[in-house]
């Protein structure tokens, strides 16, 4: 009996010490460092805000930077200074009569989605009408019967850039995130329509009726096309796909969710964007990774080799290791706008905000 107690005590102490290093809770020291890195990153953004209140003269980048401030551990508010109020003013100055919020005809859907997500994060009811009109705009560009797309069309339920009618998973995920964050009713038909498109972008022949669909569970950019060759799955889009499925109301037992999570486990890494061409879309991947892992709600993930990872520790550790001396983040591979320090810094801070927020 004595031996049994000694052995039990040994295993309990091992379990406790293991938990302190790689257990479900985030390493507190790393969390402190993450908060410091966020402060430095926000400092960088404050220094690089344009006179008109924007970052990079873009509604999208401005919305992301604003969100980075509002959702940080500092929980900035409008009364904290012009770096908040001026950016809101810039966003509001770009509101269009049709509800879109964009400084150009490009990325209208992205910009609108990011803008209303940021405005919602202010918790200021004064922006309710702008947010409501933005929701209507986003829902209005979803492809459905009103635009001659029948439910059996591969693009049905998809949301694109807003300038044409080609939908893709990247716009879809940002749009759905905005609709979720701005509390669109879960019974709104927009979600079920969106699920059709999301399902048709997944390499999962069990749930995807498209002939090209493979079976690894990952996501392509859009039905039948991946920028990384053929219809190959890759990390950024698979995390975007997973979080989109969860936003649309699916639970963890749904075969689409389990398939996507399985791909993420098998391809778990923070060294690169798995499945993508070298370092392309790396920070998009980190950002989507943080959101999807947070939404999935598991503190640990077991990779394809059976190794258990605390994703929060891994993500924070990685982002801390690549923060530049000037306090920003940037990708040397500039494709997909990742040469824009304002954008990449905002994405990284948002990722860190998700990682250090342990109460979903």
């Amino acid at each position: 009996m004595k031996l049994y107690k000694s052995v039990s005590a040994f295993f309990i102490s091992v379990a406790i010490s293991y938990g302190a290093v790689a257990g479900p809770a985030m390493d507190p020291e790393l969390k402190g460092k993450s908060n410091q890195a966020v402060d430095l990153g926000l400092h960088y953004l404050r220094e690089h805000q344009a006179e008109n209140g924007s970052w990079s003269n873009s509604v999208g980048v401005t919305g992301l930077a604003l969100r980075a401030f509002l959702e940080s551990h500092r929980q900035y508010k409008e009364e904290d200074g012009p770096f908040i109020t001026k950016s809101i003013k810039f966003i509001l100055s770009q509101v269009k009569p049709n509800g879109a919020i964009s400084e150009s005809i490009q990325n209208v859907s992205y910009n609108t989605a990011v803008a209303i997500t940021a405005l919602k994060a202010t918790n200021n009811p004064a922006y309710a009408e702008v947010i409501g009109n933005g929701q209507k705009f986003i829902k209005g560009i979803q492809l459905d019967e009103s635009k001659d797309y029948s439910p059996d069309h591969q693009y049905y339920g998809g949301i694109g850039y807003g300038g044409d009618e080609r939908p893709d998973m990247s716009n879809q995920y940002v749009a759905l995130e905005a609709l979720k964050k701005t509390e669109v009713d879960s019974n709104d038909p927009v979600w079920q329509r969106a699920l059709k498109f999301i399902s048709r972008s997944q390499n999962n022949s069990e749930t995807n009726d498209q002939a090209w669909a493979k079976n690894d569970g990952g996501f392509t950019y859009m039905p039948g096309y991946s920028p990384n060759g053929e219809t190959n799955s890759y990390g950024g889009m698979t995390h975007a796909g997973l979080v989109s499925l969860l936003f649309a109301g699916l639970d963890k037992d749904d075969p689409r969710v389990t398939a996507a999570y399985s791909w993420i486990k098998q391809n778990y890494t923070l060294e690169h964007n798995p499945g993508a061409l070298k370092d392309q879309g790396l920070f998009y991947y980190y950002n989507a990774f943080a959101k999807s892992m947070f939404a999935y709600g598991e503190p640990e993930i077991t990779d394809g080799n059976g190794i258990v990872h605390n994703w929060r520790n891994d993500l924070v550790g990685k982002l801390l290791s690549i923060q530049a001396a000037d306090r920003s983040w940037v990708n040397e591979v500039a494709r997909w706008w990742e040469g824009d320090k304002n954008l990449v810094t905002a994405w990284s801070i948002i990722g860190l905000n998700y990682a250090t927020n342990e109460s979903p």
């Binding site: 005809i105 490009q106 209208v108 492809l143 635009k147 797309y149 693009y155 300038g163 009618e165 706008w337």
Partner: protein
Amino acid sequence: MTNPAPSARNQVLAFLLAWFLIVLAGFWAPSMCIDSAGPVSLKADLMLRTIIVIGLGYLLYPGWQLQPSRIQALFWSFMLALAYLTIAIYVDDNSVFTATALNATIAIFLLSLFLHGVVISLSALSTRKGMLPLCGIWIFVLLFTLPLWVAPWVETAIVTPARLNIMLWSSPLSYLAAMLDYDYLRQQWFYQHLPYGALRYDYPDARYYSIGLLIVSLITLVNPKLGKGL
């Protein structure tokens, strides 16, 4: 250019026939370019018809065979705009004349005026005036397709957003995109086959571009030192 001048009646008939052919092509040609990916958006449809009207409007311009004049160029540009207006009203399902269609109409008028102005200007510098319409076609095609044939170098040679913008703004296609509020570079084919979707670029300000086209066209058309002998 040296043909004997036909009668006024024949000139009118030639203009009307060409105009009618352009209207017909504007109506029917897009329906032959079926997009297998799905229904074509109204803006994409209008863009395609705009290009058809401008292209055919230049190629079928009766003034090349008759006795061209600045007044004819102005008149022809107006007729092309009218042709497009007719087509756009037909294309719009709800028969509601939209701001997009109006912008496209203005764009057609200005681009046509500009193209004719360029040819008239070149005629002052060239002794081979018969070649000028052909030169105009080449300029037209090269500029319109600029984003296509420059695409392989945009990520290596044209690395800054400013240079990329200058290149894109040199193409009338970008002007049309701005006027039609249509980001054609993110249309499916362009997105999948060209690198622009991954880069940051802006379209020109449609108002300033329009004013610029108008000023240049008026200078080339009004200046009596240009276009002598055309």
